[in-house]
Amino acid sequence: MADGVKPRVKVPSKAAAGEAITIKTLISHPMESGQRKDSSGNVIPRSIINRFTCEFNGESVIDITMEPAISTNPYFEFEATVPEAGEFKFTWYDDDGSVYEDSKKIEIG
């Protein structure tokens, strides 16, 4: 597991039923591309998050496959429909098999 991985997600706490909301996610991760070399000329091995998914009450909102060209601390912004009250679940999959999760509840109001 890469050090200091911390997911941050911004979701409004309330929405009208059927409303489209904007979700912003950021996760602190070095996203080592496998192209860089250290001071002695050795290639630093690739270590990235290769997939991100967002689900609402078990239904998919977005599924992103990531390559090394995604910047350090991967940031994503996208829009979701909120049909009912429930919970957004965010999952990041690391190259090394680690899985980072976060979730946010949303109310109808």
């Binding site: 489209a20 860089r36 689900e55 992103i64 940031y75 049909p83």
Partner: protein, 139 residues
């Protein structure tokens, strides 16, 4: 774990092989990426919007946006990077719009290409040239 001479050699061999494999993957060109995604289908020029800055001072973090109403998938490629793949967005049933924004790395001045698979099964392509002052791939 006891490392005998034989085991050490075997490990070294495996490591050497592992080191060779990513090079094989990196050989995939953006044309190959596109062919794999579209299956060789024609691509329309409209239906997909790619927003990227004209000039990016820092290639390490270049903000981009893709938007293609009704698309099920959008593939983003950086044609001038050592490995052209950037990301593939797959939109689910609850995506309010087929829009996403992220930050990418660009090794130098190059074309960023996005290809969307639209609702009717056709493909749309958009590309944008981004001038990069300082490349973002290090070493």
């Amino acid at each position: 774990m006891n490392l005998t001479r034989r085991k050490t050699l075997a490990l070294g061999g495996a490591a050497a092989l592992a080191a060779l494999l990513p090079k094989g993957a990196a050989a995939a060109t953006s044309e190959e990426w596109i062919a794999e995604f579209t299956g060789g289908a024609d691509m329309a020029d409209s239906g997909l919007e790619l927003t990227a800055p004209e000039i990016a001072e820092n290639g390490n973090t270049v903000p981009i946006e893709v938007s293609a109403p009704g698309a099920s998938e959008i593939l983003v490629l950086a044609t001038g990077n050592p490995t052209p793949g950037v990301a593939k967005f797959t939109f689910g049933a609850l995506a309010a719009s087929q829009y996403a924004s992220t930050r990418i790395r660009l090794a130098g001045t190059q074309d960023v290409v996005a290809i969307a698979k639209l609702a009717d099964g056709t493909f749309a392509k958009a590309s944008k040239t981004v001038k990069v002052t300082i490349g973002g791939c290090g070493g």
